[in-house]
Subunit: 429 residues, 2 copies
């Protein structure tokens, strides 16, 4: 079963709002076993909306002959002049808008509950093209609409994510589930994502070999973001349980091939995994940061409950702060520079000693200017932008790793933080 | 001038990743005066990609007769088997992929800089359809591609947002600007965004009154994110200069009505504006954070060149760290708790004294658990989740402000940081 998702709104097409509805609906549809073919976004323009509805409904101007079996549309059901979805639908169906009395009653009730006067403009939200059915909105004012265009069922939902989600769950999901099971042989998807650190996308692909070939079931693919490569296993089966079972041997094989490159799965983050290991070991950590300016501490404390293992952080941005708050030897600073193995070593060792923690991480480097092109800020003394030393101290001693990270300021800072977290993770394993 | 943006990737069509590229590119295009007609997303499916490229290029299967004058495509340029954009393009152009030696050299250099072996799979990223031009990638491995399909110029950019943005800025923006100025009679948009802190969206709407009515030129609208309300002025005119001139009286009126609520415009951030004020005054700052865990330091050091005014930060997460590194009186901690006016006061005063800076900010509060529902983490002693004290010390003394911020852990932390930055901004004005 194939689907198309259409999002409507000037704010989307102008880029002022990122469309999260299409992604959310896609997840819902694929977990029902429906394949989403396309997302389409158009502005609040009646001709553009009409064009897309006709195309999706399989009318003569359609792009190709792949039958689309369901269309979900979000947006353009609000009360203002630029909300044109219901007018576009009436035009496609060659019919008129007509007041739907029960919907008007519900909208009036909505304002009574809010203890606010209803504006005259909300009337239009109860206007529905003749012959269409209404989907009740229990969260906001805009009712949804469902009908067929040609032979294709189409569901119109509000653009406000909170209203859209409730309406989908209450009024659309079960109808789609019935269609899918009536379809018989159709397939349900199950997912598993494994997150890795330490190997590039292409090395991962080499290690996986033909596991990533297309057309298999499950399919395995990967995406990269700031040196974290995430591997997704997607299986299809007649029902969710069967699909889940198909994932297991593939996951086992991936774990065998990738070993400790894998740090977590699904919703896990590197900082969350490191936090879990610290907690399990009953260990504590402190950090001393220069170029990352607090980002490492921020990532570690993003985790609720991190106060049980995260004790303290220093952002020793100036040389003076390094000397005064973490006792870096001024002679070493002078001789080797702030971005050096020696300074990373002192920062980690002294942070560990001062905070009396089991571990301390240090980061000192040249994040460079915003935007990513080497310029006057950073990168002096023959040291390139992206050069970062990361230290890890425990009671036994200190190790320091040298890196040169690619990318702009933000990218170098993120990569340095992930690298530091991963060094601690490997230590804790 | 009309544009279409095509995003490619199974992770998008499955809803596992939200497409932020299309929104970012839309903003860039509309500020150049180019009207984005549609966003289209398809999966890693060669037939789907070929279909969309043919359609966008105005070939016979096109949906409608509106000429599309430029197409931007993101994604599918990675090194793995599911990266099919370059193959789809070769098919549309009825040509072959050919090794582009300079690109291969750049990819090899990229791995040399990273001090990592290059994988054999990266070779494919240097394969370019014959007759196409290459867009250099200075941040990652995938070169971009530009060509014409039919008469329509098409630009292919990587899907990784950081790489895509740099490539757009370096290699696409100027080419588009030239096309627009050659285009003549089209309506050009000009934009101005004013960012405010300290007044809610509805208060701003009240202060603006009918300035926000639709159908005006310029149009004024606003969006809110973590208590920063941004007001956008969008004007249209026959050329950029005329459109810009229309903005001026509206901006003056907004500045008159909103005064110091406005902290900056366009690309300005609160941390950047505060940094600019510190630099102008020749002042320095230090921070002492508890619940925000490094986020305040991170925001201040996001700014390239911040080392001239940001001296040091302490993340005194544990009570012990507060006492040992910033000399908070243990009796005060005991009597009032870590989340108290008194502790915020000590943290700010002592950070200022220790770092010998002109100003020091402190934050102590209850960020609460992830997800936003009050639970066992935080929120004890009758102190609600979201309670945050912010201190500002200078050589004259300390002031502390009490807040209760709404939302989940991430939201409370962000709002606390913005509030602290704004307190310092108002002090520096």
């Amino acid at each position: 079963m194939n689907a198309i998702i259409i999002s409507i709104g000037d704010e989307l097409i102008l880029g002022q709002t990122v469309d999260t509805n299409a992604a959310w609906l896609s997840q819902q549809l694929s977990s029902l076993g429906i394949t989403v073919r396309e997302h389409i976004t158009v502005g609040d323009d009646i001709n553009a909306i009409v064009g897309q509805l006709r195309r999706a409904g399989g009318m003569p101007s359609a792009l190709n002959n792949d039958a689309v079996e369901v269309v979900l549309v979000t947006g353009g059901l609000g009360p203002t002049d630029d909300d044109l979805t219901r007018h576009a639908l009436a035009k496609v169906l060659e019919t008129e808008l007509k007041l739907h009395q029960p919907s008007l009653g519900r909208i009036e009730q909505f304002f009574v509950r809010l203890n606010k006067p209803m504006s005259q403009t909300n009337h239009v939200q109860a206007m529905i093209p003749c012959g269409c059915d209404v989907l009740e909105n229990n969260v906001g004012t805009a009712p949804g609409i469902t009908t067929q265009i040609g032979k294709t069922p189409v569901f119109f939902l509000p653009g406000v994510p909170a209203e859209m989600k409730v309406m989908f769950d209450e009024s659309v999901k079960d109808k789609l589930r019935q269609k899918v099971s009536a379809g018989g042989a159709e397939k349900v998807c199950a997912y598993r994502t494994l997150h890795t650190y330490g190997a590039g996308e292409s090395s991962i692909a080499e290690m996986l070999g033909d596991m990533m070939s297309r057309g298999r079931n499950p399919v395995v693919n990967c995406t990269a973001a700031h040196s974290i490569v995430s591997i997704r296993i997607i299986s299809r089966g007649p029902d969710e349980k069967t699909a889940r079972v198909l994932i297991e041997p593939v996951e086992r094989e991936l774990r065998k091939r990738l070993g400790t490159f894998i740090f977590g799965s699904d919703e896990d983050t590197l900082a969350g995994v490191v936090g879990g290991l610290l907690r399990r070991n009953g260990s504590t950590v402190a950090v001393a940061e220069s170029c990352t300016g607090g980002l490492l501490a921020k990532e570690l404390t993003d985790i609720s409950g991190s106060s049980s293992y995260f004790m303290a952080g220093w952002v020793t941005y100036s040389n003076d702060a390094k000397v005064r708050f973490l006792q870096v030897n001024p002679e070493i600073l002078e001789r080797y520079g702030a971005v050096s193995e020696q300074v990373a070593c002192e920062l980690a060792r002294n942070a560990c000693r001062e905070s009396q923690t089991d571990y301390a991480l240090s980061i000192t480097g040249i994040a460079g200017p915003t935007g990513g092109i080497a310029g006057p800020t950073g990168g002096a003394e023959g040291k390139p932008v992206g050069l970062v030393y990361i230290g890890l101290a425990d009671r036994g001693g200190v190790e320091v790793v040298r890196n040169v990270f690619p990318g702009g300021r933000d990218c170098v800072r993120r990569r340095a933080v992930y690298s530091a977290l991963n060094i601690l993770r490997l230590k804790l394993l």
